[in-house]
Symmetry: C2
Subunit: 299 residues, 2 copies
């Protein structure tokens, strides 16, 4: 974020953040274009670049990774969107993102490649709850970003491909790592063979309406495995609210929740499902036995 020293740290002060409060550079291919950039312009400028990229590459296969800055704090919207939403600046930035997605879809259609393109929209994590109304909401899910409760980990996703993806809702979870595998398979590329690939090809669920095979999901906080989900059940070994100064609470025996009946993780049910606990512990054991820790990429 590169917050300037004079900028208040208080989330409430960021409801109308000073334009010069962050020394953020705008970079294209390693070249700094502006610093600090006027962040109110970012969503529109990113969108313009994305549309140009699609237009220029319409005649050949392309992959566009389009990561927006907002609705991460500090929040900025263009004058066209500022004040438009009843949800305040947070809603304004979301409405501008919605506009941006519309422009991408429009560009794909204008370039006549919509029926040959998978569009996948998702988020990296849940809301930053200590930012108050500027941090978003996980609705009924428990806690938020930086927590291994569902509010920190579960996000919605939308997949769009006219003529190939039928309208519908799928409640089975997938994982951002699946996008690597899915895109490689769709492009006809070979997956790396010298290491295990954790992602799964989502083609059956996207194109065929078929369920994915059951598999465990591992919830890490830093290097610590905090929870594991298998089917509708999730087993917690430790829990901590996001950005909480309180250390993690260890659970031994671990806590079990039935996400199918209790997505808000309110009712602990380990005593009612000892067989499920055993199955998840076996999956965790297999995972930890097979795991070879890599070198951290930012060392």
């Amino acid at each position: 974020m590169d917050r300037a020293d004079a900028t208040p740290r208080d989330a409430a002060a960021w409801a109308d953040p000073p334009l010069q409060g962050w020394n953020v550079p705008l970079i294209r291919n390693g070249e700094i274009l502006e610093r600090p950039v006027d962040q109110r312009t970012l969503t529109q400028r990113y969108t313009g670049e994305a549309v140009q990229f699609i237009t220029e590459n319409r005649a050949r296969p392309f992959f566009l990774y389009f990561a927006h800055t907002f609705p991460h704090v500090p929040l900025f919207a263009s004058p066209e969107f500022r004040g438009r939403s009843p949800r305040g600046i947070y809603g304004d930035t979301v409405e501008e993102l919605d506009w941006s997605v519309g422009e991408v879809i429009r560009a794909l259609r204008a370039a006549d490649v919509a029926e040959n393109t998978l569009v996948f929209f998702t988020s990296d994590n849940g809301p930053w709850l200590t930012q108050g109304l500027q941090g978003g909401s996980a609705a009924l899910l428990r806690d938020g970003k930086a927590s291994t409760w569902e509010g920190g980990q579960r996000v919605p996703a939308i997949a769009w491909w006219p003529g190939r993806i039928a309208p519908g809702i799928v409640r089975d979870p997938a994982n951002a790592m699946d996008l690597f595998t899915t895109c490689a398979v769709l492009a006809g590329a070979a997956l790396p063979s010298e290491r295990p690939i954790d992602g799964m090809d989502l083609a059956p669920v996207l194109f065929g309406g078929a369920a994915l095979p059951e598999r465990p999901f591992f919830y890490y906080r830093s290097d610590t495995l905090a929870a594991c989900r298998l089917g509708v059940f999730k087993l917690h070994f430790s829990t901590q609210n996001g950005f909480s100064p309180t250390p993690p609470a260890r659970h031994d025996p671990p806590w079990l929740f039935d996400l199918g009946r209790d997505p808000g993780e309110q009712v602990e049910v380990a005593a009612q499902h000892p067989d499920v606990v055993e199955r998840i512990l076996a999956a965790v054991h297999a995972h930890q036995t097979a795991m070879q820790a890599g070198r951290p990429q930012f060392d």
Copy 2:
């Protein structure tokens, strides 16, 4: 509920409650028909009575107050519905209620009075959270039954009158007391004049698509005014989780939440809206000045 002494008090044990565990009578017009009644039969028998009442009274004006026993614990469903829902016995009872409503609608249509009848479906309070998975869920709303947080007080409602109520969603709150006024006005009856009537005629919002005038809502816990809502804002003077052994927490200065932006009551915003706090305090003062306490009806 009339729980028998031998019946466990533990909510978990009620997941499959013993039929003889509650000494509940089934009463028609003061006459006990069965005791204990087989509670699995209640939803179907109530529904049969309701359908018969509609059929018998089709030729004249009628008012039917149809209060179901479930999904209050202990939960029972008929054999036709037991095990049908992925949400367990709670979901089974909800599915049976859904069937019951369908039977009422069918009876109104069969009696050819559907286009002359207002059907209003709602609940008395939020979920009983200490009952775990048998208590229901308030989704993103905070806490549940017996609390003045929204999870205890705010419930959905559905109004149906073919040809008079256009399909749509209204987010403005109303109050169960409004049903008295609305029904009296619809029936052409005079409202009592010797006392203030707190309910408001919902006709504008039901039939005209118009917003109701802004008015304060007062949240009581027993005889104590715990909170007041005006527009999208809600001011708490004291809060307590439902059925909590912890005494209420008093808030002086009171806590303000913006239910429009923050329906989960997570972010206290009194400091940002001193004018709103003043307006709500004035409404509370007017309410308390005008109030004449009645005699408790169960003394």
